[in-house]
Structure formats: structure tokens, C-alpha cells
């Protein structure tokens, strides 16, 4: 079949309707893993059968921070590190919304680290998707709180000597009710985790490991995007329910993936409503309790 024949088939991309077509092409480099995570997210939205008018997405700044702008949802591209507190306000302003935070490792765990730990502590009802590419891509490949020891970055030109975060352990310790990690090699599992995350009530943290061929792989002589996928394939080990303190990452070392945490805890809003109902009795009208679709 020739290329022209293929075009005439008019096969529609199944995730096309989730994207703002008028904003394409996107800014991501060839081999970048962020687009793969967006594909997984679109599939999770399809599976969820949610009313997409009630799903809002909030991003910070950086390469992953651009996700909000490409998705055909109510979307907010905020300031560097502050997607979580913006999302907190959005959720508390209208508890009927399903609020998703979609941002990068630097945005969420460096400049935004304080907000991450407190939103998890509060069990704010947010689904946080953290694309971890171990670097600051948008600014040219500087060291991140996730860069493994030994990896070279422009601001660690002789190799990183700083201890990186183990993000699932951090989210778990702070009280997240759902914590998972997958790589962009594990597209089915990642999409399923996103679906579970969308359906879960409370603070959800999903780490998606993704290659940055332009700045992380090249600088560390790790080949291109496909080479990183091969690494993910060969070195990943699925351990659902793994103790998160054991899932730290090393430079090109083994990767533990899986659903690590899935538990129940009252959300911030549920706790507030429960507490005030007890304190004030019938005088208190529970806040933001949905009365069905209006």
C-alpha cells in the first residue's frame, strides 16, 4: 500500500480528540518520552469514561509543563513549581472538578518540593503525574534533585555528587494514598496506573520515567531515545507493593517499577466536612458535596 493510499484511509488517531490539534506540532524533541506519557494519559481518560468537562489539568514550568497546553481540557499553565498549590485552590474552589497536576521532576520536587510534601500530607484530592527525565530539559540540561549520582549535567560538569530524591518514598512518607512508578517503556501499565489514579480519591503520585535524549542521554553518552527504552526494558523489575524505601534509582542501574502504595485516608475536604459536621451539628452545610450534575 502506498503512502497516499494510507492517507486516504483516514484512520483517526484514537487520542486525537484529546489534543488541541491547532497547537500541534508540539515542542518536544525526537525521542523524548513526555509525548508517550500524554498518549497513556489520553488512553486513561478514555477508559475512565469521565465527563471531560469536569477534568482540569494544571502544569508548572518546563518541558512537561507544556502538557497542559496540548490537552483539550480546562488547562492551566502556572508558574515554576506552583502547579500543586494552584491545583489546590482550583479543587477547593470547585470540589466537583477532577484536578490533575502534570509536571516534571524539577518543577515538582525542587522548586515545588514544599508544596508536594504538604499536599501529600493533607491528602489533597489531586492526581499528580510526575514525568521524571532526571534533568532540566527546557533550560539545557542542568542537575535536578533526581539526577543519579555520577551522571553529568551542565551544572555538574564533572558528574553529579548530590544524593537524589527517591520520589515514591518521599510521596509515600508524606501520606500519598496511591504511589506508582512506571517507565515510558511500560505504556500499558502506565496508562492503567493513570486510570487508577484518576479513579482514586486523595493524593495520587505517579512517577513516569522518560528519556531526555537531547540533554540527559547525549551528555552521558547513553545513545538516543530508543537506547533508553532498551535500558528501561532490560533493567526494570516489577514489584507491586514494594517498600518505597527500596526503590531508589542509580545511574543506569536497576529500576523497580510497580504500584507501591494503594490505601485509604480521608481527603482534606472530607476531613474538614466531617470535623465541622461534628463540631457545628446541623448548622453546618457540608462544603462542595456534589448534588449531581447540574
Amino acid at each position: 500500500m502506498s503512502e497516499t493510499d494510507l492517507l486516504e484511509l483516514e484512520i483517526e488517531n484514537p487520542v486525537a480528540s484529546y489534543l488541541r490539534q491547532e497547537r500541534l506540532p508540539h515542542i518536544w524533541c525526537p525521542g523524548c518520552g513526555i509525548g508517550t506519557t500524554v498518549n497513556c494519559f489520553a488512553r486513561a481518560l478514555t477508559e475512565s469514561a469521565m465527563d471531560l468537562d469536569r477534568v482540569a489539568i494544571v502544569s508548572g514550568i518546563g518541558c512537561t509543563g507544556r502538557v497542559a497546553g496540548y490537552l483539550n481540557l480546562d488547562s492551566f499553565h502556572t508558574t515554576h513549581g506552583r502547579a500543586i498549590p494552584f491545583a489546590t485552590g482550583l479543587k477547593l474552589g470547585n470540589p466537583d472538578l477532577k484536578v490533575v497536576v502534570y509536571s516534571g521532576d524539577g518543577d515538582l520536587s525542587a522548586i515545588g518540593g514544599n508544596h508536594l510534601v504538604h499536599a501529600a500530607r493533607r491528602n489533597m484530592d489531586l492526581t499528580v503525574i510526575c514525568v521524571n527525565n532526571f534533568t532540566y530539559g527546557m533550560t539545557g540540561g542542568q542537575v535536578a534533585p533526581t539526577t543519579p549520582i555520577g551522571a553529568t549535567q551542565t551544572t555538574m560538569p564533572y558528574g553529579n555528587f548530590e544524593n537524589p530524591f527517591n520520589l515514591p518514598f518521599l510521596a509515600d512518607a508524606c501520606g500519598a494514598v496511591y504511589v506508582a512508578r512506571w517507565t515510558v517503556y511500560h505504556v500499558k501499565q502506565l496508562a492503567k496506573a493513570m486510570l487508577e489514579g484518576l479513579r482514586k480519591k486523595g493524593f495520587v503520585f505517579i512517577e513516569a520515567l522518560a528519556p531526555c535524549p537531547t540533554l540527559y542521554s547525549r551528555r552521558n553518552r547513553l545513545g538516543d531515545g530508543v537506547d533508553q527504552l532498551k535500558y528501561y526494558k532490560e533493567k526494570s523489575k516489577i514489584v507491586n507493593g514494594a517498600d518505597t524505601k527500596d526503590v531508589g534509582l542509580t545511574f543506569q542501574g536497576d529500576i523497580v517499577v510497580g504500584r507501591f502504595v494503594d490505601r485509604e485516608r480521608p481527603t482534606w475536604l472530607d476531613a474538614m466536612n466531617e470535623h465541622y459536621s461534628q463540631h457545628f451539628g446541623e448548622k453546618y452545610v457540608p462544603y462542595g458535596v456534589s448534588h449531581g450534575q447540574d
Partner: protein, 385 residues
């Protein structure tokens, strides 16, 4: 429209400025506050936290002022009227989100109960030294509105106005209290809900598909929607086009930034709010705002007893600055006296408006107390020579 009765504590109260400011916000329809404790502003959020459960809304104490100042922007896009409250050090942390509110045109009120600075400075003592910071503090070009109450009653009345202006112009509105106004206790009369005029958000009547988030129809203020209504809006801190989509080019930058500043600059005359006392035909005009206006009023009285033809112009809305009115007065007045609890901030605006046509005498005070009236009186007498 009229105030929602649920938030209005109609009656005669004996409360301080911080508490009155909170009641003003509730009366104005504010139903979401995010804040972080800081002296001397904390009582505003303490009262809100106590009052809001039975009014119907949310207070959350965030992890810092950075979080507070963006949580309210999220709350606004969810459809709520929103406020945060702080003092100098917290205000400095909030500056990035002043810019985000400005470029995304998110209505919000930021209360600054001013204390002595710089840095931690004088946490429990007054100043008026954040006046230029609220005007210029975030990077880039934008305009804001600021109001300066001088009593608990005005903390109530002007807070309602602050919310109304935030909705009308879709800008961050600063409520510039100070430690004395915040902590002085006076009689505050809260009217009946039907006597309080409220400006509703400029909601669009357009349908999804027809609506463009930043398109304007003449008045430079776009119509708004909220998340969850099916419009699938995109809101970004990047320079954007009418649809709200990033547009990284000089044409889009010119169009957006011009509108952000002009929607306030073109309405300067409408936004003038001053209290005038004997300024027509005066030889000397005292220009003051906030707590300093009460001290200045005593000095003006004393000067009149000494035969000086002195007027008093008090700024209620401090930004935009009423330059045109000051300029009009330069025909008669030979000198302007500007006392303020800083080392000379708003006096720069007076100088600009007067443009050398009269003398301008600054009466700076580094803060910690208010001026002694005699200090202002001495400057009035000097100006009258």
C-alpha cells in the same frame, strides 16, 4: 446586585481593622481565602477561618505565602471570589503571582497590613513603605489597583470596593492597611445586605466554541468563564493570543501588554477616589493616605488656627495615582506637603504631577510610629512662608 446575606454581619460593632477587613471581604462575597500567618495581618485570616464554615466557603492555611498567593488564583478560576492576606516579608514572596494574576487577568484581593521593613524589620509596628512594591514589585509591565483605608470602618467599606474593582477590571487589587489601622478598635457599622452593592464577575454569555478567552469588546476587559463549564479554556502565564494560547512573538506581546496596562490607564479618571478638605484656593495642600491622613488632619487644623490657607487631599485609591487632580491644584497652591510612613515614595508621584509648578515637600518617617502632628505642622508652616 446586592450582597449575599449569608456573609453580612449587619449591625454596629466595636472591632479592629483586621477584623473589619475580614467582614468586608465576607460581605463582598469572598468565599475562598488561602493565607499564611504573619504579624500584623494574621487576625484577618483568623476571623475568616472562624466565620467561613457557617457562611459556606473554604479557608486553608497554606505552607507559605508563595502557595497562598497562587492557591487563590486557582480558587478564582474555579469561580470563587478570593483573597490572601499578608505583610511585608510575605508580600515579597507573593510577587511572582502578582504577575501571574496580572497576565492571566485573574480577579483577586491581596491585603497587605504594612509593617516596618526592610526584611523582618518591625513586625509589630506600622509603616507605609510597600507602596512602590505593590505598584512595581513583579517583573514586567502591568497595572494594579491599590486602596488605602484609614479606619476600621473603611477597612469594611473599602474592602467591598476592592473586590468590586478586582471583578470590574480583572486585576489584582491591593488593600494597603498598616499595623495601626489593622489593630485600632473603633465603631464599625455594617449595613444591611441590600445596602451593599456587589459587582458580579464578568461572566460570558457566549457558548463554548464562540468564546475566546482573551477577546475584548471595546472596554479592554475580557469576559470570564470558570473551569468545569465546558469551555476547555487554556490559561497561561506565557504571552498569549485571544484564545489564551502561547504566542511567542513581538506582535502578541505588544497587543497583550498594551491592553494589560491600558485597561487601567484609560480608566484613571473613573478610578479617582480622593477626599478633599479645603483644597480649592489653598496656598498649601497636604497629600496623605492611610493612617498618616489622620495625623495630617490634626496638623491641617492646627495650621488653619495659625491662619494658613491649607487644604488636605487624602488618597483613597492610591494606585492608579490621581495625577490629573494634583495637576489641577497646581494653579492655586504654591506648595504640596507629603507626609508618609516611608522615606519618600508617593511623594515621587506628587512631584511628577506637579512638574515643577509648585514646591513639593516630603515629610518622611521611617516607621515604627506614626508622625507627630507637630512635624507635619512645621512643614506646612515652612511651605506657607
Amino acid at each position: 446586585m446586592h450582597a449575599d446575606p449569608k456573609g453580612v454581619l449587619t449591625g454596629i460593632h466595636f472591632i479592629d481593622g483586621d477584623h473589619a477587613a475580614c467582614e468586608g471581604a465576607l460581605a463582598a462575597g469572598c468565599r475562598f481565602v488561602a493565607g499564611y500567618p504573619i504579624t500584623p495581618s494574621t487576625e484577618v485570616v483568623e476571623r475568616f477561618a472562624a466565620r467561613i464554615p457557617l457562611v459556606g466557603g473554604v479557608f486553608i492555611q497554606m505552607e507559605d505565602e508563595i502557595a497562598s498567593s497562587i492557591a487563590i488564583l486557582g480558587g478564582a478560576w474555579a469561580g470563587k471570589k478570593v483573597m490572601t492576606v499578608t505583610s511585608g516579608p510575605g508580600l515579597s514572596l507573593m510577587m511572582e503571582h502578582v504577575g501571574l494574576a496580572a497576565i492571566t487577568e485573574t480577579p483577586c484581593v491581596i491585603v497587605d497590613v504594612q509593617r516596618g521593613g526592610p526584611s523582618t524589620g518591625l513586625p509589630t509596628l506600622p509603616a507605609q513603605a510597600d507602596m512602590m512594591q505593590v505598584k512595581w514589585g513583579s517583573h514586567g509591565d502591568y497595572e494594579i489597583i491599590a486602596l488605602s483605608p484609614n479606619s476600621p470602618q473603611e477597612c469594611f467599606d473599602l474592602m467591598v470596593k476592592a473586590f468590586n474593582l478586582a471583578e470590574t477590571y480583572r486585576v489584582p487589587v491591593f488593600f494597603m492597611m498598616d499595623e495601626v489601622v489593622g489593630h485600632m478598635t473603633e465603631r464599625v457599622v455594617i449595613p444591611a445586605p441590600e445596602a451593599i452593592e456587589i459587582v458580579e464577575r464578568k461572566w460570558t454569555l457566549k457558548k463554548p466554541g464562540e468564546y475566546r478567552a482573551y477577546q475584548t469588546d471595546g472596554d479592554m476587559v475580557p469576559e470570564m468563564v470558570k473551569a468545569g463549564d465546558g469551555y476547555r479554556i487554556h490559561v497561561t502565564g506565557l504571552t498569549h493570543d485571544d484564545r489564551g494560547y502561547p504566542a511567542m512573538n513581538p506582535q502578541a506581546q505588544d497587543k497583550l501588554v498594551r491592553r494589560l496596562v491600558n485597561k487601567i490607564r484609560a480608566n484613571r479618571d473613573k478610578l479617582v477616589d480622593v477626599r478633599e478638605d479645603g483644597v480649592e484656593g489653598a496656598d498649601v495642600v497636604v497629600v496623605s493616605f492611610g493612617i498618616t491622613s489622620r495625623v495630617a488632619a490634626a496638623a491641617v487644623e492646627a495650621a488653619r488656627h495659625r491662619g494658613v490657607k491649607v487644604g488636605h487631599l487624602r488618597l483613597i485609591i492610591t494606585w492608579p495615582f490621581p495625577a490629573k487632580r494634583i495637576k489641577e491644584l497646581t494653579g492655586g497652591a504654591k506648595a504640596f506637603v507629603v507626609p508618609e510612613l516611608n522615606m519618600g515614595q508617593m511623594v515621587l508621584e506628587v512631584e511628577r504631577a506637579v512638574a515643577g509648578k509648585a514646591a513639593v515637600i516630603s515629610v518622611p518617617h521611617a516607621g515604627g510610629t506614626v508622625h507627630e502632628p507637630e512635624v507635619i505642622l512645621a512643614k506646612i508652616m515652612e511651605a506657607a512662608q
